[in-house]
């Protein structure tokens, strides 16, 4: 009983402490609770600074920026650290899902603490651009990548390329026999052998690309035929690659770089490989991860400097070698085992058009591909 009395004493203290903390929270005392966050003050005025900063401002940029990154820390963290060391600019990053962070920006509106958004696919970048959330980038930064990998109006720019591929099981498939168009997978011989990910953003972007290039009807027909072929549904790219290697399905429609992670994790014996479309087929659509400076920025020069840095040799090298993506700046070579971007000759489309996600979701729903 004595033991119990002591316990309850501890509990009472704990609860009183908690109530005090709640009171602090409710009282809005941001003293130490705020920690390293350092909330910005009165952010709304910053939205007016429309004219893009001059290159010379960028060179001497300092201070700090807040980045909302839909790109995972494992993929971009080290190169951001290098940027901080070289420029002295303090970068605070909120990592999250590409669409979730985009939705967050929309909810925050003019009170957003963010200076910069990095998205994993052109669709989200296009949507935010359509909502007017980006400040245009200066010509010299846009000029660092070929025109097809940036927004026409200069709202955002691609940082690295990610190709759609067909992942195949090495036991079941001889890659030489794979069709050279994604449209050929509607043939009944592929019945029950295909895996895809209709709820996944990168797949949806690809479908948007198909709508842009081949039109609504052809895309509808393709979706219906693939579904009729009994394509098995997976939640994302990694589960497709895993299922292909395990032999659950023989081929899967996925992004190219996941395979390289599996090879690193499981070794060369891993039972799946990539098939690249090198003929401009829509099946090999080249999507991008990209970035844009937000209208809520309070440090436009530093935000632009960040993007510029990500398009220079070191960062582009990093993307190519560490994250297995295609560098977009033309002077960087790919050092791993994929065809260089120039040889792939992916289909040319205006990536801004990938922002029409709503039309794609409606099509996926009306064909029954999405429930």
């Amino acid at each position: 009983m004595k033991h119990q009395a002591r316990l309850s004493g501890i509990f009472i203290l704990a609860i009183l402490g908690a109530l005090a903390l709640v009171a602090v929270a409710c009282g809005g005392d941001n003293g130490d609770a705020n920690g390293d966050n350092g909330q910005p003050e009165a952010p709304t005025e910053a939205a007016n600074q429309t004219p893009a900063a001059e290159p010379e401002d960028r060179g001497s940029a300092s201070g700090s920026i807040t980045v909302y990154s839909g790109r995972a820390e494992a993929l971009i963290g080290p190169i951001i650290e290098q940027f901080e060391q070289e420029t002295g600019i303090d970068v605070r990053v909120r990592y999250g899902g590409t669409p979730e962070l985009a939705a967050t920006l929309l909810e925050e509106g003019s009170n957003s603490p963010a200076d910069l958004y990095i998205g994993q696919d052109a669709g989200s970048l296009g949507l935010l651009a359509a909502e007017g959330l980006f400040l245009p980038l200066p010509e010299d930064i846009l000029g660092l990548v070929p025109a097809q990998y940036r927004a026409d109006d200069g709202d955002w720019v691609g940082l690295s390329g990610r190709a759609r591929v067909v992942v195949y099981n090495t036991d079941a498939i001889d890659p030489d026999t794979l069709p050279d168009s994604i449209f050929d997978y509607t043939d009944p011989q592929w019945s029950g052998r295909i895996g895809w990910a209709p709820t996944n953003a990168s797949f949806q972007s690809f479908v948007t690309g198909m709508r842009v290039v081949h039109g609504e009807d052809a895309t509808r027909e393709w979706l219906e035929d693939i579904a009729a072929n009994g394509a098995r549904e997976y939640p994302n790219n990694t589960s497709i690659v895993e299922a292909v290697a395990a032999g659950e399905v023989e081929v899967g429609f996925a992004n190219h770089y996941y395979l390289f992670r599996f090879l690193a994790e499981r070794g060369e014996g891993f039972g799946a490989r990539n098939f690249y479309f090198d003929n401009g087929d829509i099946g090999g659509l080249m999507n991008v991860a990209g970035a844009g400076v937000l209208t809520t920025t309070r440090n436009e020069p530093a935000a632009q400097r960040f993007i510029e840095y990500m398009l220079q040799q070191d960062a582009q090298d990093y993307f190519a070698q560490e994250t297995f993506e295609f560098p977009l700046a033309p002077n960087v070579n790919v050092s791993f085992d994929v065809p260089p971007l120039a040889e792939l000759e992916p289909v040319r489309i205006d990536l801004t058009d990938l922002g029409d996600l709503r039309g794609t979701i409606e099509l996926l729903q009306s064909t029954g591909v999405l429930p």
Binding site: N30, E108, T199, T238, A264
Partner: protein
């Protein structure tokens, strides 16, 4: 909404204070619903169309079916397990209890992923069976896969409150039954089970509402539930109005479930007439082995299997030259924020459950029901609601630790509510009256008489919240202070980019940390007679 304070409370200062605190808590819980109403009212006609569309209705049916089946499954697993580990001489009972509660710490997408790796058509089990000519196992995807994953990883929601109820249950009723010559089985069914009903139903309610909100398991198992559709809207189109309309449907289902639960409670009060004494332990005898097989099968599927798969991923990666990284700060952050949230959430649950039990009436009923509304919503909905209110109306607090903890409270208060409520139900008000009659103040009596008796329920509640917060993702990602890295964030971020070695390592550490409060709880329990 008009709220009438019951008349008998009018001159009772502490009761009014408790009422006001409970009201503040309930108001906080309403924020997500208010946000949804704002969104839905953007284009009310379009929202109605979305809500009444055939797609939404069929997803709704799927969700309700899954929630019901998972609740039944969880009850079926948890009630016998709770009884075995409290009321029998099962060897290592407390160790089994700790192991049985840990599946709760495994994020549902990790849990589902490990089930697919093991039970998938061409999974590990198929590999073992291949020499026997099994080329392919039946599909795990769809309803049964989602059901299995959710049942196996949510039954602790029932286990913890039921066990707490069994621990603090007075044995005099059981003794009376036995003295009347009733067998153990009859005593269990006729005497113990009815006393367990509030705790068991509260736990089943948590399972049902959790299933409504879950996205991880249904997405891996590819089951078209309402929450999956909500994510498709957010992720696919950023159409927050359409997503909110679907979320509104979930709120309505949750309300129906919560109100229905209210009806099943009945008017029963199961408190002891005399001072509570320790429960009787039943000798299992020959049945000991059956009991051991039972608990070890559950632990095997819900804990050893996922941990085994994680361990396999780590060793596989290490052998290929991958490395794991020190994750000290993420571990500390996770433990710290989960502990903080557990204490705050339990403290917030006390006044609400006190009112519901001791001052039953329309006022307390409404407050209690409202408190459940946030829990049935997918984390992304709550997170965006608080992003909206935080960024625009409380910029000073936005993306700070207090707001994050506040978000956890909004999300997980029901977990603490059910258990503390069941605890209050078991306390005999006479013990408090005795204290009052000796001239002690109500506050003194609460802290010295009531609270000590609530301890098992409160620690169970705190542990539940801790285990759930530590794996929470959407609110943590969007609302934490910038740079506030947690284990759950790492597990998600690394596994989504196929850094399996590091992800599996972080997930293992997460489960390990989750074991700490469970172990403490098991050790501190009153030693059984």
């Amino acid at each position: 909404m008009t709220v009438r304070v019951p008349r008998y409370a009018a001159f009772d200062a502490p009761a009014i204070a408790i009422g006001l605190v409970a009201l503040a808590v309930a108001a906080a819980m309403l924020l997500p619903a208010i946000y949804l109403l704002l969104r839905v009212s953007q284009d009310f006609g379009a929202s109605i169309d979305v809500m009444t569309g055939s797609r939404a209705i069929s997803a709704l049916g799927n969700t309700v079916m899954l929630a019901g089946a998972a609740s039944l499954g969880a009850l079926g697993i948890a009630v016998p397990a709770a009884w075995l580990t409290t009321r029998t001489d099962l060897p290592f009972a407390r160790l089994w209890f700790v192991l049985l509660s840990l599946p709760l710490a495994i994020p549902s997408y990790v849990a589902a992923m490990t089930l697919v790796i093991f039970l998938g058509p061409r999974g590990v089990l198929q590999g073992w069976l291949e020499p026997l000519g099994v080329d392919r196992l039946p599909d795990i995807y769809g309803f049964w896969g989602a059901w299995l994953a959710l049942t196996l990883f949510t039954f602790p929601y029932v286990l913890l409150p039921v066990r707490a109820a069994l621990m603090s249950m007075d044995r005099s009723l059981e003794e009376a039954a036995r003295s009347l010559g009733k067998s153990n089985l009859v005593t269990f069914v006729r005497v113990i089970l009815p006393q367990l009903r509030p705790a068991a139903v509260a736990g089943a309610l948590l399972v049902a509402l959790y299933v409504l909100s879950d996205f991880g398991a249904v997405s891996i198992m590819n089951f078209p539930s309402l929450s999956q559709q909500i994510y498709v809207q957010y992720r696919g189109t950023l159409d927050r109005d359409a997503a909110a309309s679907l979320a509104m449907l979930l709120v309505m289902v949750a309300l129906v479930i919560v109100v229905a639960e209210g009806f099943t409670r009945g008017r029963a009060r199961y408190h002891a007439v005399a001072a509570a004494r320790r429960p009787v332990r039943i000798r299992l005898g020959r049945w000991k082995w059956a009991g051991l097989v039972y608990v070890s099968t559950i632990v095997g599927l819900a804990l050893v299997l996922p941990i085994g798969i994680l361990g396999w991923q780590v060793s596989q990666g290490l052998s290929q030259g991958e490395s794991v990284q020190a994750i000290r700060s993420a571990s500390i952050n996770s433990a710290y924020v989960a502990g903080f949230a557990a204490v705050v959430t339990v403290a917030a649950a006390l006044p609400v459950s006190y009112l519901a039990v001791r001052r039953p009436g329309a006022f307390s009923a409404i407050i209690e029901r409202v408190s459940y509304s946030g829990y049935a919503l997918p984390g992304i909905v709550i997170a965006l609601a608080l992003v909206f209110f935080g960024a625009n109306y409380a910029p000073v607090l936005y993306q700070t630790l207090p707001l994050l903890v506040f978000a956890y409270m909004v999300l997980f208060l029901p977990q603490a509510l059910g258990t503390t409520r069941a605890g209050f139900l078991q306390i005999n008000p006479r013990t408090e009256e005795a204290g009052r009659s000796l001239g002690r103040s109500p506050v003194y009596v609460f802290f010295r008489v009531t609270l000590p008796q609530l301890l098992p329920g409160m620690s169970a509640a705190g542990a539940l919240v801790f285990l759930t917060v530590i794996k929470e993702l959407p609110a943590t990602l969007l609302l934490s202070p910038i740079g506030f890295d947690t284990l759950a964030v790492q597990v998600w971020s690394l596994s989504s980019e196929a850094y399996f070695t590091r992800a599996a390592f972080a997930a293992s550490v997460l489960v390990l940390i989750s074991a700490v409060p469970m172990v403490i709880m098991a050790i501190r329990e009153r030693t059984p007679a």
